[in-house]
Amino acid sequence: MNVIETHELTKRYGEFEAVKGINLRVPSRSIYAFLGPNGAGKTTTIRMLTGMLVPTSGYALVMGYNPELEREKVLEHIGYAPDDPGFPGHLTGMQVLVRCARLSGMSRSDAKLAAKHVLEIVGLTEHAKKKTKHYSHGMRKRLCIAAAIIHNPEVVILDEPTSGLDPEYALRMRELVRRLGKEGHTIFMSTHMLVEAERVCTHLGVIVDGVLVAQGEKENLLSRLAEENTIRVKVSGISPKLVQEKVSELDFVKNVELLDGGALLISLLGANPNHRKGYEYRARISRLIHSMGGAVVSMSSRRLSLEDFYFRVVNGHRNGGKNERPEE
């Protein structure tokens, strides 16, 4: 079941189209990383999901409710932690959370209990009575998440949760996201920090220039790209240029690139080099080099990282329209 769905969701400002007919599918209990460069349309999309912006066309469904028409219903089921939020500086962290809880419909006593609970979750109990104007950036981010989860929503939407955080706080934030995921919340997290996405998310969506260029389960997306993965080969006793020519002729090779230092970067077609077929291809390349009188000094393959994936789809989109995987 998808807790967030959008159907051709579009937002236009005059001539400028910020979000271009995207179809998001966020499964229940997933940690969905919504990736994209700055200005790609991530925050605009989130604001349409929370009912703060009205789509120009298309629609969204969050927990089955349309934010445009049933904003309050949607907000009962979601918690939203924006990027760089502002809090009244004269209030303590505790007071901010009690206000948020009261505005979510809780009684005064329930609000205080809930505030204490979420302060503990985000690790701010010690700073509960400190005024928010004295909070560091990391503490403000955590307070923001506490405010988002205070009414125990099914879906938590986080906008750039680790931006501007030092490594220690970023790590704590990732742990917090994981914890929320384990507790059964669906996390929809916009970010351009690929490391955090790779470490915590289960699903991915990439938006570029307002277009959703890739979406799906993280492992599926990455292994799909790994199928056209590359092998790095270093040879001796033979001209690398000659090897490049011969290997290029093999039917399972997509492309061979001669790198600085004489190494060859071989892109394979239709096989993951770490899988059975991939090993077979590696053996065939090895045999070919030996048959040419050369020797394989080293042969290594690497699984594509999320970073590789991201840049492929982003550059692919920018270079050639909507192609998910561009020709290299």
Binding site: T50, M52, R71, E72, K73, P85, F87, L103, C144
Partner: protein, 266 residues
């Protein structure tokens, strides 16, 4: 039953938002500056009467009312403008929009809650100034002025301040910028005073009685002067419809615009 529950929720949220906005206003310097300005205006009147023997003899029983009268229209206009100017714009300028508006309440609850909070801060500032100013007048001149008439004068002052506060609040909601709300509202007051000055003594004098500054000027006297109650009641009823137009029409129009418009900025 669900209608009742829904109505309760709407009213509760509106008052909560208003209450929080009012609480926040106590932490802003401008509230205390406004009170200080009002007290300074009343103090000036007392100072004048303490130093002009003849005037003091004639007006002493009414001196508190005259001091209160000195707050209109400029004093109340300043209070209304400065305390309502950030009614909506504050959440945009201080980036509180997303965190506040991601809670389950409607746009109208937010709009009217903030409006109530702004009006509350105007009412409290004026009340503090009127209470302190009247007490000082009583202490200095020793003539008690009936608390009922002080209260009625306060209501008149408050209505004047609310008139300007509602206009400023609406500009704040539409422009989403405090500075624009202040500048445009001050320009509105200046324009109203200028038009009043230009039309007095001409064929167009009737316009003068419909100007917002005139209405804010007249209401405290119309309500708080015990020496001419029948006349003042008639004057009050005469000016009330204009007050309603200046106050309610902008609020209704802005509420509709606010409802239709995106909450987040482009």
């Amino acid at each position: 039953m669900s209608v009742l529950r829904n109505s309760y929720r709407v009213i509760r949220n509106t008052f909560l938002i208003g209450w929080y906005h009012l609480q926040d206003s106590f932490y802003k310097k401008r509230m205390y500056i406004c009170i200080a300005i009002l007290l300074a205006l009343m103090g000036m009147v007392y100072f004048i009467f303490m130093n002009v023997r003849l005037e003091r003899n004639i007006f002493a029983p009414m001196v508190v009312l005259l001091a209160l009268r000195s707050l209109a229209p400029l004093g109340v206009a300043l209070v209304g403008i400065f305390l309502a100017a950030d009614g909506i714009s504050e959440v945009y300028e201080k980036k509180q929009l997303d965190i506040l508006l991601s809670k389950p309440f409607g746009k109208m609850e937010f709009f009217f809650g903030r409006l109530l909070g702004s009006f509350g801060s105007v009412a409290i500032s004026l009340l503090i100034a009127v209470l302190i100013g009247s007490a000082v007048g009583w202490y200095v001149f020793g003539y008690p002025y009936s608390p009922i008439w002080i209260f009625l004068a306060y209501v008149g002052l408050l209505m004047g301040a609310i008139l300007f506060a509602s206009i400023t609040f609406c500009i704040s909601a539409i422009s989403r910028r405090t500075l624009i709300a202040v500048v445009m509202s001050l320009a509105f007051v200046v324009a109203s005073l200028t038009v009043g000055y230009l039309v007095v003594g001409t064929k167009l004098q009737s316009i003068f009685y419909k100007l917002p500054t005139t209405i804010a000027d007249v209401l405290p006297m119309a309500l708080g002067d015990p020496t001419r109650p029948p006349a003042s009641r008639a004057a009050y009823l005469k000016y009330l419809p204009y007050w309603e137009i200046y106050t309610l029409v902008p609020i209704l129009v802005t509420a509709i615009v606010f409802r239709l418009r995106d909450l987040a900025e482009d």
